[in-house]
Symmetry: C3
């Protein structure tokens, strides 16, 4: 449980550095990230390197005992490099180059840029790979931010063709896999295939899905360029990348497999503003953020990091990039920090040390005001540092496997984007709704990938899992682990076609049923789901028509089955509203012998080893009294406050 | 009264074909459309034709007695053709080519593509022109789908200049017709004239109107390329094109004049979702479609087909292309089918035989599920087939001329697009509102073009008929046929200028009044229309200030006249809400001695010869008892059900 | 107090001209604008001038004693000129040229077009510079209309680089001023700098602000091309340009400094439709326009014109360019005309004499109908002419300095656009809200620029004045003039960075306080502002956290201060709703010894010398009885009516 921050010595007079470093240390910070975005200061002219300033900055930080997270500066190639090699620029779907003037103006497929990346990362690793202050490396910064994963450049076209050839072997196999006979879209060679762009109407969804996969693989390849160099020149250091919230443009699992730690950038209020929650929900959580947004991502990135997770950028005040940017309620920065630790974060690092007085992010708050005086939030950071110090006296617990696994799959998100079928049935939002329902029941959750084993879990939940790998279906069948399966699962092959046995495809081994028709419904249409004729909940957005010999547990208004059970597996043939979903999952978890309780609005629990955390995102004072010794707070939890207990039992 | 479907043998294993054909025949189907979209299978390499598979498919269908509608594959030129001739691609209004990857990626003006069209259609007609299975040809598929009528290519520019020269003779005449003296837009030669694109603000509306007319004429020319070949190589076969719903991008009347039958593609639920009806209306008709949408188009395309009309694609289940895609209420596929026949359809063909398991339309339901088992909807198709068989024993009636003619004009739609004046006053929607008001009164309607004679009609209705041809105004004056004229009629010359005598232009021969001012009103503004000071209805969206010596029948809140009558002609100087409009039209029809009755919500009637059909789109059970012998159903008509009577009288 | 109109003799048969001129004179009109847009008639072929028609037109107008406002035709370069020099075209932010077909299709930076402008203006001035009918020149027409200030052409890029070099001297200074070290955006030479376009995400806001300033300076330069020629060839004539409403794309103050008169084009109903007022407000003022829209612009352009202001285009009926175009309520054209005079207009000119029957503006009403008969509105114009004649018998008053100055700054608008921070906190709208609050209190207002002296004002109001010049802050401190300062004032340096002493920057000399945090709040969030714990108003959209030793006058719900006073200065640390703002300003004005009264809804007052005007925009009859002699109307003012009193006191 470490605290840290992000620091840009190049933004400040050198005379300021020492005072900054001293105050960081005094505040209880351990980690300081530097270097990302600094290319124009490291190499101001082609081939001319000016390391000295950075040498001195590292020395100053090191002298205060701070541990440096060194970022490679590849997110911001300087103007001279772009002018020399304009083909570094990504090309948008309208065939326009995305020009210099902000950041991330490069194409992951650019051969020139890959070479330039090797050059600058090698130079940096040679200089600092063995530096005693450097503890961790960060590759690049926020891959994909500002819609930069997809590029339609000539380089991307060429690599895409090669990627397809590798995947399919022959163009005939590709034509069959995509169903290109439809609309005479058949190709005679891989060289004929363009990225899906500027077409008259939608392109083949299989084409788009594969272009997404290809683009995601380009990120994996690009990230590995860094790794090969850093592993060689800076052995013994952890390497991470800082991912984002609500971001699905590339598959994070293989990128994470290559790295040591998954870190992410957590901005609860900015994300809330940009989310699709209703205005009422947004107003209620205006200065706290939604209670499940950070938790979901902590759990997701803990999986991406194979158990090791940080927050590399934690919001410390109002940000600049949302439509509206309120200030966190007093107490929330402390709450968010503790919540990260409760979900297994090794470090919680605030972005940024000091608010910049210039350029794009000058309205983004920091721990310091622009005039180098502490912002009020430092008192909350100081409080967390003190609390950690106090609690760790008796040893800190570690994350253990949760009872419940929730499947999250980037490819499923792409399937929904390539082929929505209902405008309001979205993959990410739906998984998040399931997460919320589980968390409102007081349950701790592990996010797993569809390729993961489910061993050790007492229950598995999946929804909208468009393509279910045979291995997962097989393990579920073999283990008989209780599983709750939401609509549209198993509805697609890996190539985004309809399975020969129809949906839910391989899950039919678990549940003998077939989906023969689906309906998407506009917002405002609410239809009942019934238990022997009595209202038992509300269907919204989506319903399916199932043929089966099973007797349904619940049915629709026309008598068709809505919820089915076979052995330990349940299948829900509809989207339902939040209350209905929570009720259904409570029933399911009960059958799996997992304790649940419906928590007070805004309250969330999280187990970390034998500690139990309770976080109050709501506007009410909440009474909560578990069986254990209170380590922090009390049984009366105020809004924006938390409590921690050491529990008698392990789980 | 034939039934049929659309079939893509190239999508399925050849071993499946025979079973498919047999089951089609057993279901009662007569027509099977094949071939459109199959170019890449017919000519997989330039000049290499592989007819054999299609030969065998035709043989299989023929063996079951099915009659083939053969589509030319020109809507989907293959990749090799585009790569050889990129100037086939249409160019959008942002000057970007519209690339390969879906369908309809060609410019109607492209000289190369016209030549390629001749080549492939000739090859196909030579192969199958005399084939015994081929009963009907379809040219291309859904001209204009996905916004493909307008192209701003170099070819289009060149042809547009020639088209203008032919229309105006001299550039001076063009400058005068368009009023190009305004803003110094005068041209010195036709070669200076560009398509209306990328201008700083709106271009001259006359310029845009003529570019629309030109683009529409390109469709006529392009369609004729097919006809010249097919008439020569496949004599004796009918030729049709399948039009779309709610589609006005080209003038369908001249295209229809060249063909034998007008067919259209009817998707009541998809159209409802995409329509501008209120959320309440959309929810009420969620699984039935709006009761006037299909009827309006049946009546429109019956005129386009000069009396001969089919539905070439009838929705059999959820579609894939609307924002939300619900399933038809059980019974509706039967109802829609019968409604088509009631409006004069010769054939009702379902799209498609089997749901595809791949590519863009894999979520579009068919009569078969993707796994080659019947979808439940087949029972409704079977029922219709049986009902036809039973009823035709006594002979089937034929469409006769209706009492009421409603004018529909594609050019008026373009005038409203080129010069809206009020954002919420739309031509198509307004004509549809008038149609609804007439149909809620139980009246059968013929749609007529403005160039048509009104002989034989007992009443004529027109609204927003921007340019009224002299011939129509003259015939109305001469015949003294009762006519109800809605706002903005006669407000423009053929060149989209203001008539010298102001609106309603030539209609002043009928009604001595002049419109000296118009107002457009935002949604939410509702103003009364009054009868001697008492409320008589509601004005919305539009009102006009009229000078006349006539005493108005109704007046506005400021005392100005709102409804005028002179002889048998009425002029309504405003848009009004639906209830007001129905009341006014009931009064008008009463004066024309046409019987009306306000039908129960969702009920619609249609006369076909001496048969009377009643269709219940609503959610209530309806009692309806006309004077006649009940052939189908009963006097109690359930939701999604219908009834048919043989009437004592002829009309 | 003159009346006038806009006339296009080239649009009408020459035989019509004399009747037109006669009727203009009889109606009481003095001024007639001609010539703008007529380039293709003046020079139909390159170098071939056809002046004769315009000679004759001027003679006809002169014969009736009409005074001609001669417009240069540069807003509409003809097609032959564009085809010869396509680089005249502006280029949009997507790098697409903005093509011929409407108007304003030129780039202010185009070297070729500047030369062509010199050529045509010289030719025109040589021909008519000494013509006895020509009293006034208008340069071009509505600079910037249709989003034409910004151009991203090669010419603009080149001139932008030169402009930057002149402003910053060295690229190092530029990098520092913009903070380009952020995200490695540093340049090595001015030649590397592009316009801010097509970047991956937002460009540096300082970059964008300077591109706005540059683009604005191009307008100044372009306008001066006209002036140099006209001053030389047409001495003694006034020169004006006709500005627009709600238009902030260039800085009008320096353009105005070069001209003799500021004129503007006032379309109250079109502007209302396009405004951001709520639907309720828009319905209430549907046919009157918002009561502050014209007044605000009159006051603004009176400052731009250094005291001399006209309305060059006054709406006389429905326009064609808004989403919906209602007709003015009878009486409003007279009211708007008198209101212009009350705010100091020297002339009120109606657009246009006769409604055109062709081209883009054929639905724009004029004083004449298209068929050359008078529109009903002429009776209102005639009435104003008669009233002026009657009133001027005793001499007309002149505008004097108002008590209250309200600061308006184009650069502040650009700061808000470059860096919004809260989507709903807009500069223009906020200043207009303050103007409304002042006007609802019956106060007459002068708009001043931030570079202006405040001498002679009894109170100053500023809000959202992002950069406060040192001179203004200094004068306020020195004069101790009462000043009310709204949120976000003084928050930026001239380069759009954060001041070293934080907001409100130089205003801290007036008020010892610092803003350490700001919050932007979405619509629907309303928080109380309190006076010693009791509700005293509503905060919306924005609040600030202030550190100070001052005791706040009002505070937020968390106890933080909301309104501060020090000496004669007040600082409001939030946006508030309209009622709250009016209350706070009433308190402030009271302390400044300025009389206020809360006017009846829709009523507005304006002092002109010793006359007091009252205008009723509302729907109620209003009683209003000031101390003075009633010159026009009475103490009972009907809707859409006005009254004028000669007051006993001077102010």
């Amino acid at each position: 449980m470490q605290l840290g921050t992000c620091y840009y010595p190049e933004h400040w007079p050198e005379a300021q550095w020492e005072d900054d470093a001293r105050r960081m240390a005094e505040l209880g910070l351990t980690y300081v990230r530097v270097g990302e975005f600094a290319w124009s200061r490291i190499e101001p002219e082609p081939g001319v390197f000016t390391w000295e300033w950075l040498d001195r900055a590292l020395d100053v930080l090191h002298a205060q005992g701070l541990r440096v997270v060194m970022g490679t500066p590849t997110a911001t190639p300087p103007k001279w490099l772009i002018d020399r090699h304009p083909d570094i620029l990504a090309v948008d779907e309208n065939n326009q180059p995305r020009r210099f003037g902000s950041r991330r103006h490069y194409c992951f497929s650019s051969t020139v840029y890959r070479e330039e990346t090797r050059r600058i990362v090698t130079a940096m690793a040679e200089r600092y790979g063995q530096h005693p202050a450097v503890a961790v490396w960060q590759t690049d910064n926020e891959f994909g931010c500002h819609n930069t994963i997809l590029s339609f450049s000539a380089c991307a076209r060429k690599r895409f063709q090669g990627w397809l050839e590798k995947r399919y072997g022959t163009v005939k196999a590709l034509n069959e896999a995509w169903g290109n006979v439809f609309w005479s879209m058949e190709y005679r060679s891989f060289a004929e295939i363009d990225p899906p762009m500027q077409a008259v109407t939608e392109t083949n969804p299989s084409h788009r899905l594969d272009f997404r996969r290809f683009s995601s693989d380009m990120v994996v390849e690009y990230n590995r360029i860094h790794l090969d160099i850093l592993r060689r020149l800076s052995p013994g250091r952890d390497i991470h990348h800082n991912y984002m919230g609500c971001f699905t443009e590339f598959d994070h699992y293989p990128v994470g497999d290559d790295l040591d730690i998954a870190t992410w950038d957590s901005y609860p209020l900015g994300f809330l503003d940009q989310s699709r929650y209703s205005p009422e929900v947004k107003r209620y959580y205006l200065r706290t953020g939604h209670p499940d947004f950070a938790g979901f991502h902590h759990d997701l990135y803990r999986r991406v990091g194979k158990g090791r997770m940080w927050v590399q950028e934690q919001q410390p005040g109002p940000v600049n990039w949302a439509g509206h940017n309120p200030a966190p309620k007093p107490g929330m920065v402390r709450l968010w920090t503790w919540e990260g630790f409760a979900h297994g974060a090794e470090a919680m690092n605030y972005f940024r040390w000091r608010q910049a007085p210039f350029a794009q992010e000058q309205m983004h708050a920091g721990l310091d005001l622009p005039n180098a005086t502490p912002a009020p939030v430092q008192t909350e950071v100081r409080q967390v540092a003190d609390e950690i110090a106090r609690l760790q006296a008796n040893g800190l617990p570690r994350t253990q496997q949760a009872d419940v696994a929730l499947v999250f799959d980037y490819h499923a998100q792409w399937v929904f984007e390539a082929q929505p079928q209902g405008r309001n049935f979205l993959y990410f939002d739906t998984v998040l709704e399931y997460y919320t329902a589980l968390r409102e029941l007081g349950v701790s959750v592990d996010i797993i990938a569809p390729q993961d084993s489910i061993k050790g879990y007492r229950a598995v939940v999946m929804v909208a899992q468009a393509h279910v790998p045979e291995a997962l279906a097989g393990e579920l069948t073999q283990e008989q682990t209780p599983v709750f399966i939401g609509p549209r699962s198993g509805s697609k092959t890996v190539s985004l076609c309809t399975p020969e046995n129809l949906a839910p495809g391989p899950l039919q081994a678990l549940l003998p049923l077939q989906v023969i028709q689906v309906e998407s419904l506009p917002d405002g249409v609410v239809e009942p789901v019934l238990l022997e004729g009595d209202a038992a909940g509300s269907v919204v957005r989506w319903r399916e028509r199932v043929v089966t010999e099973l007797t349904p547990l619940l049915h629709f208004d026309n008598g068709d089955g809505a919820l089915f059970r076979h052995g330990n597996a349940q299948y829900l043939a509809a989207c339902v509203d939040g209350d209905t979903l929570r009720n259904l999952l409570q029933g399911f978890l009960g059958q799996a012998d997992i304790d649940t309780t419906v928590l007070h609005k805004g309250l969330r629990l999280r187990r970390l080893g034998n500690w139990l955390f309770a976080f109050n995102y709501g506007q009410d004072k909440v009474q909560f009294a578990p069986q254990g010794q209170c380590l922090l707070g009390s049984e009366e939890i105020l809004p924006a406050d938390l409590a921690v207990w050491q529990m008698d039992s392990e789980a």
